[in-house]
């Protein structure tokens, strides 16, 4: 690099750069999530059978459609880096915001860790070389992507757009190359999913499957983290998020159809590479290799988006003094929250080396569901404190409060599902959030400026 450091300072301030369009928002949202089609969703089949995986695909799709609608409304109005964190700060209060930011950082960092482990394991499985471990590939994934994020958001999300599109197209290619319109040739859904084995555990299995059903879509709400970097947040964020959600619903349906028609559910439930396996089972080396590459690309895109989102949430915490202001530094040339990116890098690396894939996924899902529970209450409070017409909203979601109620009910079901699978871990995690909340409320909050946290040019909320 021969270019000298020229500070891109407007006035005397350095801020994040507004360069992104709706396509980047789509790439950020879908990029994070799409890996879920390549691994993770299929564990829902393990929990409740192939049909349960399909049912949760739809029902959890409903949960996330509610998330996307609610999120689009609030974030097109509260457009700030940190996304749901800034929403919580303006609508519920500082302690909630602190917790939401932690949910975000953990959900994304653990998702990044899972992606890196998946990528490493996929390469090791492909290589089949004695003694080859996944550590070097994990390290390269995390460090290279952190570097990309460090160097600028536009390049990061351009890359994400390309690799996400390739991974997505490969699912479409797989779908059409197994002649989905005729059963019996390649696809044998009737023989693989029979009345006898469709729901091997009955309905309790369907509920248990919710835990991994989340994985079909986890992370789509991350689009809001880009709020300070999109050119017109009020338009691009709802548009990119909704388009992303539609894309994902289609991908999830295609993935289930192909995989359930090609593998017995017992195998589907334990494999780490359902789509790659489907590619193998077609017998075509071309498809097999395509799906192998697509699995890697999807994992990369996801980890990339996660670094982006986790760093922004961490950065926002520093900016409001919830954590030391040191984290709120913006790189004068690349205009990225570079210290947050660097700080989270070794944490992600450490967990990628010590945690296992299941645990990382569960931690991520738990933090996600805690956050959705917050969102359902948040939107009700938002409409109450600032009724329609009292402030300008970029987008107003229809059927309020039905999406909020649906979201809340499905979160309760998902908590029950997690209880069936990982009950004690849920208690341990909530205990952690509880303790750190006490720490924040009684100690850390004294360093926070009060009125300055409220940055939106809104009137006083009703009832205060």
């Amino acid at each position: 690099m021969t270019v000298t450091l020229e500070p891109a300072i407007h006035g005397d301030r350095v801020s994040l750069l507004r360069v992104l369009g709706p396509a980047h928002v789509w790439a950020l949202g879908v990029g994070i999530v799409l890996v879920g089609e390549f691994t993770g969703w299929n564990f829902a089949a393990d929990k409740g059978g192939a049909l349960a995986a399909l049912i949760v695909c739809w029902v959890v799709g409903l949960l996330y459609t509610s998330v996307a609608m609610i999120d689009s409304e609030v974030t097109s109005t509260v457009a700030a880096a940190g996304g749901q964190y800034a929403q919580a700060k303006h609508i519920v209060g500082p302690l909630m915001a602190f917790n939401v930011a932690l949910f975000l950082v953990f959900a994304y960092t653990m998702l990044e860790v899972s992606d890196a482990i998946l990528l490493g394991d996929t390469i090791v499985a492909k290589a089949g070389v004695e003694g080859l471990t996944h550590n070097s590939f994990i390290a390269a994934t995390i460090v290279v992507l952190a570097w990309l994020n460090y160097r600028g958001v536009l390049m990061t999300l351009n890359v994400n757009f390309v690799i996400t599109a390739i991974a997505y197209i490969s699912i479409v290619i797989l779908f059409f190359s197994v002649s989905p319109w005729t059963q019996g040739a390649v696809l044998k859904l009737n023989e693989l999913v029979t009345p006898g084995n469709a729901l091997p555990y009955g309905w309790i299995g369907v509920i248990a499957a919710f835990q991994f059903g989340i994985w079909y879509y986890l992370g789509i709400e991350g689009t809001t983290q880009a709020a300070e970097e999109v050119r017109s947040p009020a338009r691009s964020l709802p548009y990119g998020t909704m388009a992303g959600m539609i894309t994902l619903l289609i991908a999830a349906a295609m993935t289930w159809y192909v995989c359930a028609s090609m593998m017995p559910w017992e195998y589907l439930g334990i494999t780490y590479y359902p789509l790659w396996d489907a590619g193998k089972l077609t017998g075509s080396p071309l498809l097999e290799n395509l799906l192998f590459v697509a699995t890697l690309l999807a994992a990369l895109a996801s980890a990339n988006g996660c670094i982006n989102d986790a760093a922004r949430a961490w950065f926002s915490l520093g900016r409001d003094r919830y954590l030391p202001t040191w984290f709120s530094a913006v790189h004068p040339r690349y205009r990225t929250p570079y210290r947050s990116i660097l700080f989270l890098l070794p944490i992600a690396l450490a967990f990628a080396f010590i945690a296992d894939l299941n645990q990382a996924i569960t931690f991520s899902i738990l933090s996600g569901v805690l956050q959705y529970t917050f969102m359902s209450i948040n939107i009700i409070m938002f409409r109450k404190k600032w009724p329609l017409g009292s402030i300008r909203r970029g987008y107003t979601h229809p059927f309020h409060p039905i999406p909020a109620i649906v979201l809340f009910s499905l979160c309760v079901v998902t908590f029950f599902a997690i209880f069936l699978g990982f009950g004690s871990q849920l208690i341990a995690m909530v205990a952690f959030y509880f303790l750190i909340s006490l720490w924040f409320h009684f100690y850390r909050y004294k360093f926070v400026r009060r009125g300055d946290q409220f940055t939106m040019p809104w009137p006083k909320p009703q009832g205060y």
Partner: protein, 125 residues
């Protein structure tokens, strides 16, 4: 209402706070693993007859298993490894209480802090 001026935090204090958060994160992740709490209850319902029929696999399924490189013997542990969903009521009650308590505390404490924010933001104009 007077403006609240937070104390300046020393460098050492900042570093200490970061360390607290990092340690808390690691403990939260490590403890469940160390105590063996992570992971769901799955156990193998062993069968004596190891054939595809006994394992409940029809010829189509059996052919796919074989394509994937499994024999009835090697697939046995995968197919018969089942969940045993039992609702452990005391744990469920504890979990529900912890979750509800957590959210109630969050919203109540947040609201107290939020009132300060609103007062300072809108009253000193």
């Amino acid at each position: 209402m007077s403006r609240y001026t937070p104390p300046e935090q020393s460098k050492a204090g900042q570093v200490f706070d970061i360390a607290v958060v990092v340690v808390a994160i690691f403990v939260a992740l490590w403890l469940p693993l160390k105590l063996g709490l992570a992971g769901a209850a799955k156990s193998i319902d062993a069968l004596d007859a190891k054939t595809w029929e006994a394992l409940g696999q029809n010829p189509t399924m059996a052919s796919i298993w074989e394509k994937l490189g499994y024999t009835p013997e090697t697939a046995h542990d995968i197919i018969q490894n089942r969940f045993h969903y039992v609702i452990d009521w005391p744990t469920l009650v504890i979990m529900a209480a912890v979750l509800i308590g957590y959210f109630v505390f969050l919203f109540r404490a947040s609201d107290r802090e939020y009132r300060d924010v609103i007062n300072e933001k809108f009253d000193d104009k």
